[in-house]
């Protein structure tokens, strides 16, 4: 059998809600209002928000489909190039490494 939830008990929930709402009527001082205005005068007049970021964001979103399309086209092109990546890469590496290594280590020249 499922246990009933304590937090959903109506009496307890009401007690919690009443206690929470009662916090509204707690007294606070009045000094904060002048303190706010003092801080605001210290900050001084505001400069209007720059429109650069929203404009840039708009631009980025406009370019998003084009970028996706470009990525797709490049991927297709790459897949269709039929490069034998492993042998090409290893062949180049072997050819490049052989000569300098022998020359450097043993001073042998072909």
């Amino acid at each position: 059998m499922m246990r009933s939830r304590i937090s959903e008990n109506e009496s307890l929930k009401k007690a919690f809600r009443d206690a929470y709402a009662a916090k509204e009527s707690e007294k606070t001082g009045d000094g904060w209002q002048s303190a706010v205005m003092k801080r605001i005068r210290r900050i001084g007049p505001l400069t209007p928000a720059s429109n650069f970021l929203p404009a840039f964001e708009h631009f980025v979103w406009r370019l998003a489909p084009v970028s996706c399309l470009l990525v797709l086209v490049l991927t297709l092109l790459f897949v269709n190039m039929e490069l034998d990546v492993d042998s090409d890469y290893l062949g180049t590496m072997a050819a490049e490494m052989e000569r300098p290594t022998l020359v450097e280590l043993f001073g042998l020249e072909g």
Binding site: I6, L12, A21, W32, Q33, I40, I43, A49
Partner: protein, 200 residues
Amino acid sequence: MQKDSLSLSDAEIVRQILDGDVNAFEFILTRYKVQVLKIVKKHVPNEAAEETIQEAFVRAYESLPTFKGTGDFSQWLSSIAVRTCYDHWRKAYRSREVPLSALTERHAQWMEQLISQRSEESFDELGSQREAREILSWALGKLSAENRMVLELVYLEGLSVQEAAELLGWSKANVKVRSFRARMKLEKLLRTVKEQGRRA
């Protein structure tokens, strides 16, 4: 002739402030101080309320250039107030300055008694809100800042997920998940209190 501050719309006052009239912010302060004060006092302890309300209004002032005149200013300001309270708790939890009150047998008994009552009227007979407030404060102190805020807004204030999401600036899904987790944690904490009462 300058218009009376009472007849000025929020958008007009915001325009004046953005045009460089810093003192026009006092109209905003006068118009919305009760609303913001109510929000802040509910979410943060009384001793931190003054500092938090100052912070909320200063943030609102600094954010005025981003206010789109077409929206509801009151809602916009409430959202800033709620987020300032959230930041208060984030800071407090980070620096471990959350007061953790201890509960006694009295609290457990009070809760047990209240839960076993059948009618809602009986709650009034059980006396003050002190126990409720102390248990609540103890339980909220054991939650994270996120869970605390969402529990206060949804469970204690009865706001909808949509409303809470707008105030906190979170997605609805995030509020739903948080709300569920926070309630589960609250449930666990309340069960501990109840168990302690039985053992005593």
